[in-house]
């Protein structure tokens, strides 16, 4: 059920593809860095507790 985009199909599809790609990348990078920082903080806190 793809709509008929006529002669502008390339423009419309490339705009959607570029935007969605950028948004997905932004979310994934944010989540990846967030998880990394959580793990690193837990490791540092545990090390400090262990070493007094």
């Amino acid at each position: 059920m793809m709509p008929d985009l006529g002669k502008y199909a390339d423009a419309v599809l490339s705009a959607y593809a570029a935007s969605i790609l950028l948004l997905v990348l932004l979310v994934l990078v944010s989540l990846w860095r967030g998880r990394r920082m959580r793990a690193e903080l837990t490791a540092v806190e545990n090390r400090l507790k262990r070493d007094g």
Binding site: G6, K7, Y16, L23, L25, L26, L48
Partner: protein, 250 residues
């Protein structure tokens, strides 16, 4: 409760621990609401709206271009407010919220510029023109990059927060120009605002309603991202502090 008492309660969130506790609870709602609005708005706009009689199917780009441009400008204003809070009250969370918002602003500006160029090529016959709005948006994009680079370049976090806050104040001029460039210089290719409180100036209802859903989606996505990323910045700052304590103790 008086307004000033309510405002004072807001400062409780300047405490990183309180901020993290509260946002952990709120984040699932924002992620789900953002995903729902974006999917509904974009699917509605792409599949179920007609072509424009002049612009053909390119009108469907409006569902990405307008919300991202709106966010690009307003994220800078959010950064301005949090930077001012940092400069006046020295709350670290507010400086870190500005830092967390900047990459989101970069991506929004990039989407606005890219979709604008893709839309402009078939409509204006050119990818780019040194039009007031386009040029001020490009300068805003460079300000975002400069803001992020400045944070990365300075070792001391408080000095970095001070200098980036000043940069944010200066960049606000270009954020205002980006918003009102069309009104200031009544020339160039770019049209006036697509949305306004005066409904007569808005786009037709058939495009307007899905556009509002998309804007809601972009706003909710920004809120989710900035809350999550601020939490990440708080943790990164704590890691640095703990590592410094480790080095002193060693």
């Amino acid at each position: 409760m008086s307004i000033s008492a309510k405002a004072n309660r807001l400062w409780a969130y300047a405490n990183p621990k309180k901020f993290l506790e509260t946002t952990e609870k709120a984040l699932p709602f924002f992620w789900v609401a953002a995903a729902l609005c974006l999917v509904v708005g974009l699917v509605w706009g792409f599949f179920f709206t007609p072509d424009d009689y002049r612009q053909g199917s390119t009108v469907k780009i409006i569902y990405l271009h307008v919300p991202s441009a709106l966010m690009a400008i307003n994220i800078w204003f959010m950064m301005l407010v949090t930077s001012l809070v940092w400069l006046v009250r020295r709350h670290h969370v507010s400086a870190l919220a500005a830092r967390a918002a900047a990459p989101v602003g970069v991506v929004m500006t990039l989407i606005a510029l890219a979709t604008g160029a893709i839309w402009g090529q078939p409509m204006w016959g050119t990818w780019w023109a040194w039009d007031p709005r386009l040029t001020s948006f490009l300068i805003l994009f460079l300000f975002y990059l400069g803001y992020i680079a400045l944070w990365e370049a300075i070792e001391n976090p408080d000095t970095a927060a001070d200098l980036t806050s000043v940069l944010c104040l200066v960049g606000s001029v270009f954020a205002i120009l980006s918003r009102y460039a069309v009104n200031f210089w009544n020339q160039g290719l770019h049209q006036g605002a697509s949305l306004s409180l005066d409904k007569e100036e808005n786009v037709a209802d058939v495009f307007w309603v899905p556009l509002l859903v998309c804007i809601a989606g972009f706003v909710l996505l920004f809120v989710a991202l900035v809350l999550y990323r601020t939490g990440t910045e708080i943790r990164a700052r704590r890691i640095k502090a703990l590592q410094a304590r480790e080095r002193v103790g060693a």
